[in-house]
Amino acid sequence: METVLEPGRAEKNYWRDLWRYRELFQVLAWRDVAVRYKQTVIGVVWAIIRPFLTMVVFTVIFGRVAKLPSEGSAPYALMVFAGMLPWTFFSTALSDASNSLISNANLISKVYFPRLIVPAATIVVAFIDFLISFGILIAMMIWYRFLPAPQILLLPVFILIAFLAALGPGLWITAANVKYRDFRYVIPFIVQIGLYVSPVGFSSSVVPEKWRLLYSLNPMVGVIDGFRWCILGGQSQIYWPGFNISLLGVAFFLWVGVHQFRKLERTFADLI
């Protein structure tokens, strides 16, 4: 095996290298999970409390106070939670991935490995939180005696879309963050605004028909609608033109993210 190091040399074996380092990916993901709730009293319960309380607040504000309609006959709380799941996953993944390179600066400047592993591993942590929250959803369905429709089997597809939706911008921002620390301050802002701009506390069917296509430019609109369609079954309708636009948005951000990340990756160790 011969390695040639030259300025500007595109790594021919990059994707194969990535595969060779899969064990490191596992170990880093495991480390982030193991460390996440160390020295906390209630530990993993935090992963339950946070989305649950947000769900309660949203149900009260949007459902009771603003009296927005639910989707079909589904209980409002269940509809909110079905949207909270992908949103919490997305926002945790995005903010963790965005800070991942900087918080692993000591690794970046001392060891070689395909840097893509670092942000990708942090998303695994967000996924573990997602699985825990999913338990609450099941508990809520039992509580409301709500039987899911067969399309719930398609849920993994939408989880994958949510993963890719977080990975794209996450890669872009974490790479830019190495060079310009300004991006560190942008993320909490995006996540906060995004929570209200995306149909988390309300159904996207309340958006007027003529604006819906434009509204779907937000990739999370498609993901959240898809989740509701899977979980609430026939009570929820997918707006297909909008969904396709959201998918395009996900694909676009993923392409930009990977492209930018690869472009900046070679200079990480010098700039971090």
Binding site: M1, E2, T3, V4, L5, E6, P7, G8, R9, E23, L24, V27, L28, R31, A34, V35, K38, Q39, N106, L107, I108, S109, K110, V111, Y112, F113, K179, Y180, D182, R266, T267, A269, D270, L271
Partner: protein
């Protein structure tokens, strides 16, 4: 095993960094208006840089700095190469390029085989995780597979001597335990090419010796190629057969380890720090009546050096300039690498008279006959009046190193020694004395 196969080939390697300077700070602008204007201009420039996708550089003057310039050499399989050079000579940059952490600006490197690099002890250790967990974490980061780590786990724990604390978070470890664990993991790497930066500088001497032994095993028995950077000349000499001496990013010597070390040791004279004390040095105490100009160490041939072999008599030459005539004494002291003063010599020691200093330049030599142990030291120098008032004083006037003598030399130490120096000494039978009873503790006489 093809012993003449080239495994690392470096051609015309250069690495450039951009460094920024703050011009205004040097010139001493300090009005509010200037500060505001400067900050606004800087912010504007940074925004522009960002829009163009350039790197942000602090300060308003950008300068290119070549950490490596046109470096070429070839390493064959099984060779152990020691890389020496002063701080900033480009050693670490070279290792970083070879380990693929950073990219060269120019030139090309070809590497055959699996590389593991050890640029820091305990890279990626997580303080919250236990020793056991960190072995797996650190091992994976250094490039071992989980199966490899599992099969060597017991060996690693043995080597580190931490069995009892395996399930304690490493944040509760003493720094010694931490380093031992970290090095134990690294010592069990089995790459074809091993790249090691100054990692032996940490840890206690006992453990350092163990690590050196392990590294020696690695290179001799397994025919592995090793690149090793260290300031510890004794370690370099005992481990390596080939030496690369870098100075200001360029190769000054590439050949046998003795050549490289010899050049490094005497390399300070021609173009680096030769013991001259800059005239504009900010002095803490100085009356201006006289100023130190140069402090040097002179070898037996009369040449200035910055390293000596243990056992050689140490001759220090001080030059100073007198501006107003005074009567004063000189002071020379040796400090260890942590700044503790270990000797102090005054020119008036033993009742010698003060020096009558007339305007002009003067020089005086001090010879120290005690054997100084291998290590890194520095010299301080001072001029004091007879009432103790300081006329001039320079701490760290010259850094120097005492090297271990070669194997076979009567002054060679095969282990690392404690303390700083060996007093002038003589071993032999006790000298018979008539009233030797007097030397017995005197409790009995007190009672009588």
């Amino acid at each position: 095993m093809l012993s003449d196969e080239i495994v690392i080939s470096v051609e015309g390697l250069s690495k450039r960094y951009l460094v920024g300077h703050e011009s205004a700070r040097r010139e001493g602008y300090n009005s509010l208006r200037d500060t505001v204007v400067r900050h606004a201009r800087n912010a504007g420039r940074k925004t522009l840089d960002m829009a163009r996708g350039r790197q942000i550089i602090q300060g308003d003057q950008v300068e290119e700095f070549w950490a490596l310039k046109d470096v070429s050499f070839e390493v064959r399989r099984g060779e152990v190469v020691g890389i020496v050079g002063r701080n900033g000579a480009g050693k670490s940059t070279l290792l970083k390029i070879l380990s693929r952490i950073t990219e060269p600006t120019e030139g090309r490197v070809r590497i055959k085989g699996r590389v593991a690099s050890l640029l820091e002890v305990g890279t990626g250790f997580h303080p919250e995780l236990t020793g056991r967990e960190n072995i797996f974490l650190n091992g994976s980061i250094l490039g071992m597979t989980k199966a490899e780590i599992r099969s060597k786990f017991d060996e690693i724990v043995d080597f580190a001597e931490i069995e009892k604390f395996l399930d304690t978070p490493v944040k509760r470890y003493s720094s010694g335990m931490y380093v031992r664990l970290a090095f134990a993991v690294a010592a069990h790497l089995e790459p074809e090419i091993l790249i090691v930066d100054e990692v032996l500088a940490v840890g206690d001497t006992e453990f350092q010796r163990k690590c050196l032994g392990k590294m020696k095993d690695v290179s001799q028995h397994d025919g592995r190629t090793v690149l090793f950077v260290s300031h510890n000349i004794a370690a370099i000499k005992s481990l390596c057969r080939k030496g690369l001496y870098l100075e200001k990013g360029q190769v000054k010597s590439w050949g046998t380890v003795d050549d490289a070390v010899t050049q490094y040791v005497s390399g300070g004279i021609s173009n680096a720090f030769d013991g001259t004390i800059p005239k504009d040095l900010l002095r803490e105490y100085s009356t201006g009546e006289a100023e130190l100009r140069r402090v040097q160490i002179i070898d037996a041939g009369g040449n200035p050096v910055h390293a000596m072999v243990t056992g050689d008599p140490l001759e220090v030459l001080v030059q100073w300039e007198v501006i107003q005539p005074i009567e004063a004494m000189l002071e020379i002291g040796i400090m260890d690498s942590e700044g503790r003063q270990i000797t102090q010599s005054f020119s008036t020691d033993g009742g010698a008279p003060p020096i009558d200093m007339k305007p002009g330049c003067h020089e005086l030599a001090l010879r120290i006959d005690h054997t100084i142990f291998p290590g890194r030291y520095s010299l301080l120098a001072g001029i004091h009046k007879m009432d103790g008032a300081t006329v001039d004083f320079v701490e760290r006037a010259l850094d120097f190193e005492i090297l271990n003598a070669g194997r076979g030399d009567p002054n060679h130490y095969p282990w690392s020694v404690r303390g700083y120096l060996r007093p002038a000494q003589q071993w032999g039978p006790a000298i018979p004395r008539e009233q030797s009873k007097q030397r017995i503790p005197t409790t009995a006489t007190n009672e009588s």
